[in-house]
């Protein structure tokens, strides 16, 4: 490593030094992925702007709200979305696919014995399908008076429903925005390929 430094004040990259920091950093990346896949580490999500698909074979949630929101997009103008919020939820066979433009990224988790668990989930979707069952459902509530998910409320006067628990099987949503406070993803797999 005793080559002459670049001439005239021009810097250069010393590749041995590059490897020295890149190797531990990549090891840390691998550890992060493994810890997430073992659901030791909880990650948080906030996606918006790109439409994406979420599927799950089973969703069980505590504290559910749903109301309509008006969204605006440059390409589509104004359009309505159903905003669903769940306080805590467990999902099995979760699959999330996003079109990144160059490739479709597919994230799957919860295929093994343990389920994906999340808290403070908010999903703005234009298509939502599945077989749902609710307990203590309250249909037609004013969206500004929702209390099931603290902090998430709709516009005053808008139609809304809420329920104490929700169970949806064969869930499939086409969503435009989602946030999740925390998410544990056991059995995480992240690959490029076909959508869910």
């Amino acid at each position: 490593m005793t080559e002459n430094a670049a001439v005239g004040g021009y810097g250069r990259v010393r590749w041995r030094r590059f490897a020295l920091i890149l190797m531990p950093a990549l090891a840390a990346v691998i550890i992060l992925v493994v810890l997430t896949a073992q659901s030791v580490l909880a990650v948080s999500f906030a996606i918006s702007g790109v439409p994406f698909t979420v599927t799950a074979s089973q969703l069980n949630g505590q504290g559910f709200e749903q109301f309509g929101v008006l969204d605006h997009s440059v390409t589509r103008g104004n359009f309505f979305l159903a905003s669903s919020a769940i306080r805590t939820a467990t999902l099995s066979h979760l699959c999330l696919s996003v079109n990144l433009g160059l490739a479709i990224l597919k994230i799957t988790a919860g295929n093994g014995g343990s389920d994906v668990s999340g808290s403070d989930l908010v999903i703005d979707a234009d298509r939502l399908s599945g077989n749902a069952s609710f307990t203590k459902i309250n249909i037609g509530q004013d969206a500004s008076t929702l209390t099931q998910v603290p902090g998430v409320k709709g516009p005053a006067g808008a139609f809304a429903l809420d329920s104490q628990t929700v169970a949806i099987s064969n869930l499939r949503t086409h969503a435009y925005a989602t946030t999740a406070g925390t998410f544990t993803l056991p059995g995480l797999s992240l690959r490029f390929g076909s959508p869910c």
Partner: protein
């Protein structure tokens, strides 16, 4: 892509006097080239792109971000600071060690806070960019830039950094800067005269290998920190336990 040690060498000192007569376009190109090569340009660019990609992947509406709280806010803070690191690497390359290590740590942290590091793409860009910027080494004597030529000689800023890093003291650029007049000596193919090498530092070649070893110990010590933070994310009492080990590496390496 980034090492300019070989083929396209900077025109030697004789060219410096001709720059005055060059046309404006050529002059601008030269200035741009000089600007680009006197700082960790590609590392900074990759970091900015990575941070930008993470930011683009997460545009949650603000009320929800505030509702989610610290986690949601961190999702924004991490990529923003990542972009800042890249910009500051360009603007003040003397602080490259701090900014590049911070960028690597933030890129790793974005896995937890920001959509799995912007779906992994931004994370990779940030880590590779940070490593590139860290491995970038300043050249010898910066020489007077066009603006400095008009202003007159100025003190070279690299002296303090050389002291901090320990392994830059050998490049002999500091002695040139300390000479009265500050004009760069005509260099013969980039090799300083043997006299200059022997005069300022008795360390010479031995000091250099020791210096780079010391820096390497620091690198591994610093880059082990995100590992420790990642393994013990929640239990703060536990995360205190390995930190004496992390600190231990530094004094041991420094002695």
């Amino acid at each position: 892509m980034d090492s300019y040690g070989g083929g396209d060498r900077e025109p030697e000192a004789s060219d410096e006097y001709e720059t005055v007569e060059l046309g404006p376009i050529r002059r601008a190109l030269l200035a741009w080239q000089r600007w680009r090569r006197t700082r960790p340009f590609w590392g900074g660019l990759l970091i900015i792109l990575g941070g930008g990609e993470i930011l683009l992947s997460e545009q949650a509406p603000l009320p929800i971000v505030i509702h989610v709280g610290a986690q949601g806010l961190a999702g924004y803070l991490v990529p923003i600071v990542l972009v800042l690191c890249g910009v500051l690497l360009w603007l003040s390359p003397t602080q490259q060690t701090f900014y590049s290590v911070l960028a690597v740590v933030l890129a790793l942290g974005s896995w937890v806070t920001s959509n799995l590091g912007g779906f992994f793409v931004g994370l990779l860009l940030g880590v590779i960019g940070g490593a590139l910027a860290f491995a970038w080494q300043r050249g010898e004597d910066p020489g007077p830039s066009l603006r400095e030529e008009l202003r007159g000689p100025r003190k070279s800023p690299s002296e303090g950094l050389g002291l901090v890093l320990g392994d830059e003291a050998r490049d002999g650029s500091d002695d040139d800067a300390e000479r009265p007049g500050g004009a760069p000596l005509p260099q013969h193919d980039g090799e300083p005269l043997p006299q200059e090498d022997a005069e300022p530092l008795p360390k010479g070649a031995g000091g250099e290998s020791g210096g780079s070893f010391r820096a390497d110990g620091m690198i591994t010590g610093v880059s082990a920190l995100p590992l420790i933070l990642a393994i013990f994310p929640r239990a703060s009492s536990q995360s205190l336990a390995p930190s004496p080990g992390a600190h231990h590496t530094k004094p041991r390496a420094a002695s």
